[in-house]
Symmetry: C2
């Protein structure tokens, strides 16, 4: 069912410092920052030859990554995102297997403008897991 690894998301409290690490120290190609107010994050994309790393900084009140950064002030890997062809079919299969889909279970439009669901970490190897329809 799952296809490509779309991205690994790393939450940071200081996006400029994260960019300095990835662009400066690690020598990767990093995009300009983008505000995603609907998702409560400011993001840059680290463009690797086969996938991307997204560095996320909290934006605004109630950012979904604020609590994670309280627990992990140095930052850390927040989630992984796998691509699927059909988000509804994927969601229905997962629910039939007893896996928990977060929120109301309905796909939302994610930060890339495509339908996504997030899956409960406890059901996926302790890893917050996003599925994105591509």
């Amino acid at each position: 069912m799952i296809g490509r690894l779309n991205h690994v998301a790393i939450a940071v409290s200081d996006l400029k410092a994260g960019v300095a690490t990835y662009a400066g120290v690690l020598g990767a190609k990093v995009s300009d920052p983008q505000d995603e107010p609907d998702h409560g994050v400011r993001v840059v994309f680290v463009e690797l030859p086969n996938t991307k790393i997204e560095l996320l900084e909290p934006l605004g009140e109630n950012s979904p990554i604020a609590k994670f950064l309280e627990k992990n002030p140095a930052g850390g890997i927040h989630h992984v995102c796998y691509e699927v062809d059909d988000i509804i079919a994927a969601r229905d299969k997962l629910k039939a297997e007893g896996a928990r889909v977060l929120g109301d279970g309905e796909p939302k439009i994610g930060a890339h403008g495509k339908p996504v669901v997030f899956l409960h970490p406890k059901d996926f190897c302790g890893t917050l897991t996003e599925l994105e329809q591509v």
Copy 2:
């Protein structure tokens, strides 16, 4: 400097359950388990079209992932691994930038039989980061 994302490593306390999640629930192609006694892990490879996920279970005494699993009993993302062309040049550049290389700073032969170094999470967005020469 960094190239492809070679893998994302997810530590689990029960590899069979991890395989059931990735092969069964998520429908991915998963290899047979391999014991890596020199690295203190038993591993399966989740083969995605563009990269791989490695599920790691502790093997033997003093597994390097035992402490992580004590803190994260449900499992979790343990590290990411980026490819580099020249591990010595990469290590020297990172040290010149003030980044900390774990251990004695000398590349070791990693689980894929290739030279690797691990970088201090505090210097890399709170993320344990492996570089592998390919």
